[in-house]
């Protein structure tokens, strides 16, 4: 264990030394790339037993108050404040539990967690515990959408194959998505679960009317993208961003090229796109770009498929551009 050799700050997060000038009302302002960082050799102190049990033994520990008997998981204290600081004793709890309440789902994550989104995070009361532990939640069936995990849903604790002694070593999935032997197994690992891998949806053959409708929608889409390209606020939304996107629909396919502050529609899609969007009805994307509903929601509702979850980032930017154009029209 503890063999994962990664940098504490992955190099992709570290910008170059540099600066630029922004001019506002004729006056120049100096903007410099900067960072504020501190490294630690930080002790897990009284929590060491808990984290070592997670890492080395795939066990989940809590603490039990010697007076009131309350079992806290995680064991976030050594003495119970409800009992005038009576000491607590370590206990092991089960690796199946129940959601304390319906968990939120993060689609737009912080810069550290964009690779995990969309993810749920909620509080699980493991069998044998009285308090709830904050856990990352996934479904084995693809993108987590509202309704899959709710208050009262039974969930199973799963361990990453590589563990470092941290709460990120574990997560939960709905027990209903697992076999009985998996649910009953203590120390179930990620690699022991069948994860539904993203498969590009197949599109039905296009009829002549589909193709005609497609041509019409592409024209409208082009016109909206050209409007975005003329809009300063929208262009700012994609400053420094470069993506070649292949859009596949029932009636045909086209490309969208985002290139550091400019966006354009290309009749012929890229041969090696950064990612692929698939939507049966090309209006799904058109409506999003025209600010008639969010593209993000179309992905969540499975009306629009993207080949890489990380590209939610690009979807957000397209949604933002649509809003920027709409906002500019108001002022």
């Amino acid at each position: 264990m503890g063999t994962v050799k990664e940098k504490l700050i992955p190099s992709k997060y570290i910008p170059e030394v540099g600066s630029h000038i922004e001019t506002i009302e004729g006056k120049k302002f100096l903007i410099t790339n900067d960072a504020m960082y501190t490294f630690y050799r930080r002790t897990k102190g009284e929590f060491s037993d808990f984290f070592l049990a997670l890492r080395d033994e795939k066990r989940l520990l809590g603490c039990k108050c010697s007076r009131c008997g309350l079992i806290r998981v995680p064991p976030f204290l050594t003495h119970c404040p409800d009992c005038n600081f009576a000491p607590t004793d370590p206990v092991e709890v089960e690796q199946v539990g129940v959601m304390n309440s319906t968990p939120p789902i993060t689609y737009f994550a912080t810069s550290l967690f964009q690779h995990l989104a969309p993810y749920g995070r909620g509080r699980v009361i493991f069998d044998g515990a009285d308090t709830a532990m904050s856990m990352v939640l996934y479904t084995t069936t693809g993108i987590l959408t509202p309704g899959i995990i709710k208050k009262g849903t039974r969930v199973k604790l799963v361990f990453n194959d590589e563990r470092i002694g941290d709460v990120s070593d574990v997560f939960c999935v709905p027990a209903a998505e697992l076999r009985r032997d998996q649910i009953e197994k203590k120390g179930l690992q990620r690699s022991e679960i069948d994860w539904e891998s993203p498969v590009e949806p197949e599109l039905p053959a296009a009829s002549a009317s589909d193709v005609a409708a497609y041509r019409e929608v592409v024209q409208e889409t082009r016109s909206i993208i050209e409007e975005m390209n003329r809009n300063d606020r929208a262009r700012k939304d994609i400053a420094g961003w470069k993506r070649d996107i292949l859009v596949k629909t029932r009636g045909g396919k086209f490309g969208i090229r985002i290139d550091d502050g400019s966006i354009r529609l290309e009749e012929t899609g890229p041969t090696s796109p950064d990612f692929v969007m698939v939507c049966q009805d090309p209006r799904t994307l058109l409506d999003g770009l025209a600010y008639r509903g969010a593209i993000t929601d179309s992905v969540i509702n499975k009306k629009l498929w993207i080949s890489k979850n990380m590209e939610f980032n690009t979807i957000f930017k397209l949604d933002r551009m649509a809003r920027s154009v709409a906002r500019s029209k108001k002022v």
Binding site: P104, I105, T106, S111, G122, D297
Partner: protein
């Protein structure tokens, strides 16, 4: 016996998505200049300063207030900083009130400032993911930070738990209408980040999900800016008021509460914001308010999220728990309704410059009490994980 304390001056800077033209030094001084000008006193007459600055990472400095002290003209005087997450501004006012009520000082400057969007994520080439990452360092460092805790998802936990208990409340069409209404309120706030961003309920419903169940147009926007108040004990306040020609707006009640940060048995009840309940009711008790629903006229509420605005109004006792949608359905906060809620546009439309936000809310409440000739306002700040912290203040226009 503690002394009465009142607000005798206030000022804010414009709240903006980014202030490339100013550092937080200048923003702090701008708001202070406005506040002393409003009170018509020289800065030399101010005895102490209470700084509300939430996050060292935003300002890119530990002890970010130390440089401000001299450039505000407060050298050789008392200065302390308060930092309590989103509730920083409200707690800063509470601290100033306590010192003034105790007779330690005659006058105090309450200054909130925040510079959030200097943070920048070079991988997505945008500020927001880095801003929310910086806030993410506020989560529990042993059990939550490394699994993606964020301010949005922790408040969403509380909102969803409330919705588990009250499935018919916080309907999407109602949260959308509240957001649209706040966007109308902001039209008169020339300092707001989104003064001219009026939206329809349909636009709100069509905006993208950021963290389920929150949509983009139901969430506060990160701002940069500063807000300042001049507070004074009774006799000094009256003297300043006589000179400035503006009435003293009295702080008649203050209350605070911080909950557990863990959930489950004997911990936080996730379906409630008990910090809001306790803080508001303590403030009512101090102000002698027996029935808040009959007394409170203006609410300047920390609307980090529109859903939370509704729950907070219920915890304040202004609408029933489980019937917060009555704010719209019964016309309680619609134009001409019983309550004036967030006339400044709230943090969703005026903006959320964290340490400055609740002080901006007090600035607005004071202005509105005087302008509308109303008597009682409630000012509120919420913060930390799962809406753990609250401070409330009752303002009265005697």
């Amino acid at each position: 016996m503690s002394k009465r304390v009142g607000i005798v001056g206030a000022g804010v800077t414009p709240f903006k998505g980014t202030w490339r033209e100013k550092t937080y030094y200048e923003l702090a001084q701008m708001a202070t200049r406005e506040a002393v000008k409003d009170a018509r006193i020289p800065i030399g007459d101010v005895d102490a300063v209470f700084y509300g600055i939430y996050n060292d990472i935003f300002e890119r400095a530990a002890i970010p207030e130390h440089a401000l002290h001299g450039l505000l003209g407060m050298q050789n005087k008392f200065g302390t900083r308060i930092t309590t997450g989103g509730a920083t501004g409200a707690y800063t006012m509470s601290a100033a009130h306590a010192y003034l009520a105790a007779g330690r000082f005659k006058t105090a400057l309450v200054l909130g400032v925040e510079k959030a969007t200097d943070c920048f994520d070079f991988s997505s080439m945008s500020a927001t993911p880095e801003v929310i990452k910086s806030i993410g360092w506020s989560g529990d460092s042993f059990f939550e930070q490394s699994i993606g805790w964020s301010a949005s998802d922790s408040y969403a936990e509380v909102v969803l738990a409330y919705m588990d208990e009250h499935p018919g409340d916080l309907k999407p069409e109602i949260t959308a209408r509240i957001s649209a209404q706040l966007s109308e309120h902001v039209l008169t706030n020339e300092y707001a980040q989104r003064q001219f961003d009026q939206v329809t309920p349909e636009e709100v419903l069509n905006s993208r999900l950021v963290v389920y169940p929150f949509r983009e147009l139901e969430i506060c926007v990160y701002s940069e800016g500063a807000a300042a108040l001049i507070m004074a004990e009774e006799e000094t306040a009256k003297a300043i008021s006589k000179n400035s020609g503006q009435p003293v707006v009295w702080v008649t009640g203050v209350g605070e509460a911080n909950e557990h940060s863990f959930a489950g048995k004997n911990q936080k009840d996730m379906s409630r914001i008990m910090s809001d309940y306790h803080a508001s009711h303590r403030a009512y008790a101090m102000a002698g308010i027996e029935d808040p629903a009959k007394t409170v006229e203006i609410v300047e509420l920390h609307d980090a999220f529109v859903h939370q605005l509704e729950i907070s109004m219920a915890e304040f006792g202004l609408v029933p728990l489980g019937r917060a949608d009555s704010l719209i359905e019964d016309g309680l906060m619609t134009p001409g309704g019983k309550y004036v809620v967030n006339p400044c546009g709230g943090l969703v439309y005026c903006g959320h410059a964290v340490g400055a936000s609740n002080i901006m809310s007090a600035w607005s409440a004071r202005n509105e009490l005087i302008k509308r000739g109303l008597k009682t306002a409630l000012v509120h700040g919420t913060g930390s994980t799962i809406a753990q912290y609250t401070a409330c203040m009752i303002l009265e226009n005697a």
